[in-house]
């Protein structure tokens, strides 16, 4: 959906990524200005595609999907009169539905909080920071089916880094980021990390 060079070098706006090497030897791919613009665009794409936001519910996947869902909710509320951001935001923990629990250290279980109106017959937009193998989203789809029956499920991610292992694709993408498997993509959000940034680390570029 979004285009542009993988590592923009001519950013002129405030908070744009300049491809600089950060102190932890990672490369900045998106700055706070880029992230804000991407979220605004995604919010408008959600409104366009669903003809408003009357039935839309945003479910953020902890940890970093949740603040992104809150920001999208604020943008939907700002663009559409009659939408209360607090009533369309929820969080969906997928830990207990993961298929890789036995291959990783024990994960902490996050909170699942549905919006007051529930998710039945709503359009659920899942919000996550990075789309990678697709396994988190598969777990999220399972978790949703235990919680109710939405009329549709859509997926919004800030970064799509490729390397899917399942037939899953995102409906709304902040930035497509071609990566190699040896690279590590990190999304930082100010609510948790104190700054907004997408960085890429390691590998041979």
């Amino acid at each position: 959906m979004s285009s542009g060079p993988g590592v923009p070098t001519d950013g002129t706006g405030v908070g744009d990524a300049d491809g600089s090497i950060r102190s932890d030897e990672s490369t900045l791919v998106l700055g706070d200005g880029d992230i804000a613009r991407a979220l605004t665009r995604i919010a408008h794409e959600i409104l366009e595609r669903n003809r408003g936001a009357m039935d839309v519910v945003l479910l953020g996947i902890p940890t970093r999907g949740l603040p992104l869902a809150r920001r999208l909710g604020q943008r939907l509320a700002a663009a559409e009169p009659g939408i209360d951001a607090a009533r369309i935001i929820g969080s969906l923990d997928v830990t207990m539905h993961r298929d890789d629990l036995h291959r990783q250290p024990t994960r902490a279980i996050g909170a699942t909080v549905l919006p007051p109106g529930g998710i039945n017959d709503k359009v659920v937009v899942l919000v996550d920071d990075v789309l990678f193998s697709g396994r988190t989203i598969r777990a999220a789809l399972d978790a949703i089916s235990d919680l109710g029956r939405p009329s549709a499920v859509q997926l919004a991610v800030l970064v799509d880094r490729g390397h899917r292992e399942l037939p899953i694709r995102a409906d709304y993408v902040g930035k497509n980021l071609p990566t190699s498997l040896s690279e590590r993509v990190r999304v930082l959000v100010s609510e948790i990390d104190g700054e907004d940034a997408v960085t890429i680390q390691g590998g041979h570029r």
């Binding site: 207990m96 036995h102 250290p105 909170a111 919680l147 990190r186 680390q201």
Partner: protein, 344 residues
């Protein structure tokens, strides 16, 4: 967490992690679909050498809600009555593919032997051994207290609050009353509640207070009315374990009537408790001995809720023991939620 054998094994961060996980598990149990796929393919064996209603059913429910397979083993009617040893019984269960063994045994230390003697390589969860430990009971008691009372002794309002997630029991005063001598519940509770920052006072007749109690991190008193006058935040009544006292009550107290008079919780004593105090009992209750019927059924009583919380706490323990890398610490503990990168 590889095994759960004793409340003393839990440091404060681990204990809070178990309680926080239990809080999330409890939230899932309020849903229409309560079953989660988390432990699919895992097998949990309930190995019960001693009678139990709620602990066994609670562990069975917890394992089934997490989609584990459950094998119930009661010593009565098994080869144990033909003289089979604990080691042979355990190895038989391992050969059938058990991933975790939940064991209750009349001998103190049996779960420890099972976990550390090299007979089996399953995880071991202590569901009560002799007069030694009952860690999941202590965890569910701590969980229940934390849900109702915030540090400082203020009652939490409704179910919408934070329910204490992330915190301990700092500054709360808990009185544990009754048969201290035979109680594994009290030994686990003293350790866990103290770890979480609560102050524990034990109350019982001198004959039912064990030798060496002064080394425990708690106060001891023989005067129930004196302790109740200090306004404890939670009062936990213990069952008088007559089956461990021998014929005729074993001479631990002159008569049930006298015990009830001096150490029983009745409506008269409940009325003297502070407004926010809660009344607990690990069950099964001897109504009319350590607790009167009107005290057990009073609005202060959280005894039925303790049972419900037991399922959530045992789900949390099974999750923390069985999910994750089987060997416990083989993989690097890199920030799991952050590792969207090469750490696969």
């Amino acid at each position: 967490m590889r095994h759960l054998l004793s409340a003393a094994d839990l440091d404060r961060p681990t204990a809070i992690q178990v309680l926080d996980t239990a809080a999330q598990m409890a939230a899932t149990q309020a849903r229409e679909i309560k079953k989660l796929p988390t432990l699919r393919g895992k097998t949990v064996v309930n190995l019960f050498f001693e009678d139990s209603t709620r602990t066994r059913i609670s562990f069975e429910t917890a394992a089934k809600r997490l989609s584990a397979d459950v094998i119930n083993f009661a010593a009565k009617g098994s080869s144990v009555s033909k003289g089979e040893s604990l080691k042979d019984t355990a190895q038989t269960l391992q050969a059938m593919g058990a991933d975790a063994v939940v064991i209750r045994h009349p001998a103190s230390g049996a779960p420890h032997s099972l976990a550390h003697c090299g007979w089996v390589d399953t995880s071991v969860i202590n569901a009560g051994d002799g007069t030694h430990q009952h860690p999941t009971q202590a965890l569910l008691d701590a969980f229940t207290i934390r849900r109702h009372l915030s540090p400082g002794g203020v009652r939490r309002v409704g179910a919408d609050g934070d329910q204490g997630v992330g915190g301990g029991l700092d500054g709360l005063r808990v009185a544990i009353v009754g048969d201290i001598l035979h109680s594994r519940v009290v030994r686990s509770n003293v350790q866990l509640l103290t770890t979480l920052g609560a102050e524990v006072t034990l109350v019982g007749p001198p004959t039912l207070v064990p030798i060496g109690v002064e080394a425990w991190p708690c106060q001891t008193s023989y005067d129930l009315d004196g302790v109740l006058a200090t306004g404890p935040d939670a009062v936990m009544m213990l069952r008088v374990q007559r089956e461990r006292m021998g014929a005729g009550g074993g001479g631990f107290f002159p008569s049930p009537a006298e015990y009830m008079h001096l150490y029983g919780l009745d409506a008269r004593r409940i009325a003297r408790l502070p407004e926010h105090s809660i009344v607990m009992h690990p069950g099964p209750m001897n109504r009319g001995l350590e607790i009167s019927a009107d005290a057990a059924d009073s609005p202060r009583s959280v005894i039925v809720e303790q049972v419900a919380n037991g399922v959530a706490v045992r789900m949390a323990v099974l999750y923390l023991v069985l999910a994750g890398v089987p060997t416990g610490d083989a993989a690097p503990a890199a920030g799991s939620a952050d590792a969207k990168g090469a750490a696969r």
